[in-house]
């Protein structure tokens, strides 16, 4: 009986030892890989800093600042001015960065439809929905793009608005 017990305990320890060693090896290689990537990135950043001048200039080259208006339709208007976002951000990632957003992703060319921002609407509403606009700087007019907000790539200094509006009449600007 003791010999049998010894055999099984040994087998269990052997399995534990081999698996544990392999798993530790796996995490060691992961650690080494990510550490090397981090070092390479840091090296590239230092090269960039030395080329551009200082760190804040580098950050400015890698990011953009936009103004975001969120209007809940009941008179509540909140501005998020000078919001810093990574280059390549879209109107959708911008609203994601400043609000609690619910959305449906229809994929492909349809893209994302924002269904709720900061809990508005609380329940489903077939007469109202979330619209978005960007402001044309030349003549300060709001322009509604005819595509999803995840397709609108932001530019430096852009001003965008998300507003909860009625479908009838079709809104021409954020309330």
């Amino acid at each position: 009986m003791e010999k049998r017990l010894f055999t099984y305990v040994t087998l269990a320890l052997l399995v534990w030892g081999i698996l544990g060693t392999a798993t530790a090896g796996y995490y060691l290689t992961q650690y080494t890989t990510y550490q090397n990537e981090y070092k390479n990135l840091l090296g590239d950043l230092n090269v960039l800093v030395s080329a551009v001048g200082n760190f804040s200039d580098v950050m400015n080259t890698l990011s953009l600042r936009v103004n975001i208006l969120v209007s809940c339709g009941n008179g509540t208007r909140v501005w998020f001015n000078n919001t810093a976002l990574p280059i390549g951000s879209t109107a959708f990632t911008a609203i994601l960065a400043v609000s609690d957003v619910r959305y449906n992703d229809y994929g492909g060319t349809m893209g994302i439809l924002v269904t709720s921002i900061n809990g508005v609407p609380r329940t489903g509403d077939s007469t109202h929905g979330w619209f978005y606009w960007y402001e044309e700087t030349e003549n300060s007019t709001w322009v509604p793009p005819n595509y999803s907000c995840d397709k609108y790539i932001l530019h430096r200094g852009d001003t965008i608005a998300f507003s909860y509006e009625s479908y009838n009449p079709w809104p021409t600007s954020p309330s």
């Binding site: 049998r4 099984y8 087998l11 269990a12 052997l14 399995v15 081999i18 698996l19 392999a22 798993t23 090896g25 796996y26 290689t29």
Partner: protein, 197 residues
């Protein structure tokens, strides 16, 4: 007809069970499932424990041979012989365990089966990892380096495989083996009773 002494008597019910279990194993192998979660090892192990080493090893290698061609992951290629040997060893392990326990199992057997399940699964994984390392060796990489790198990169799938099989073996081996033994059981289950009533 007089048979030579080395020809063993092959019972039809054993062969029937073998074929049914082979079909079951193949069905499980070819069914979509989470990676490395399988019950083929358990069935091969219990076949070995119930029907003997030859049946266990035979079932393991047969299932892996067919799986190597029909697997949804594609033709196994160089991996095929390693998988066949690995699963045959699971059957051999079951046969030896069945012989050592004399066919009687208790609650301790659940723990023993779980440990053996973990051990044999690890052996299977190490062998198949060796199969993965062969092409790297053929490309000129040092044998040990190729094997260790494959073993390390496959550590997580192996962990899933070993843990799931430990649970399967511990929970299912004893009850399923008892059920199969009852099914194979006495002649009264299989023979028609021609006595007049």
């Amino acid at each position: 007809m007089i048979q030579p002494s080395y020809v063993q008597k092959l019972e039809v019910r054993h062969l029937s069970l073998f074929v049914v279990l082979a079909a079951l194993c193949l069905g499980i192998q070819l069914t979509p499932r989470p990676l490395n979660v399988e019950s083929t090892s358990l069935i091969v192990f219990l076949t070995g424990a119930v029907l003997g080493v030859t049946f266990g090893a035979g079932l393991g290698s047969l299932v892996m041979f067919i799986n190597g061609f029909l697997s949804p992951y594609g033709f196994a290629g160089l991996l095929l012989p390693f998988q066949m040997i690995g699963m045959a060893l699971v059957g051999v392990g079951g046969g030896l365990y069945g012989r050592s326990s004399g066919g009687s199992y208790d609650s301790v057997s659940c723990v023993e089966a779980a440990v053996l399940g973990a051990f044999l699964t690890l052996i299977f994984d190490v062998l198949t990892n060796l199969g993965w390392a062969v092409p790297m060796m053929l490309e000129g990489q040092p044998i040990l380096l190729a094997f260790v790198s494959v073993l390390v990169s496959g550590a997580f799938p192996s962990l899933v495989h070993v843990v799931s099989n430990t649970v399967f073996f511990g929970a299912a081996f004893v009850p399923v083996t008892s059920a199969v033994r009852k099914l194979l059981g006495g002649g009264h289950i299989w023979k028609k009773d021609f006595s007049l009533t």
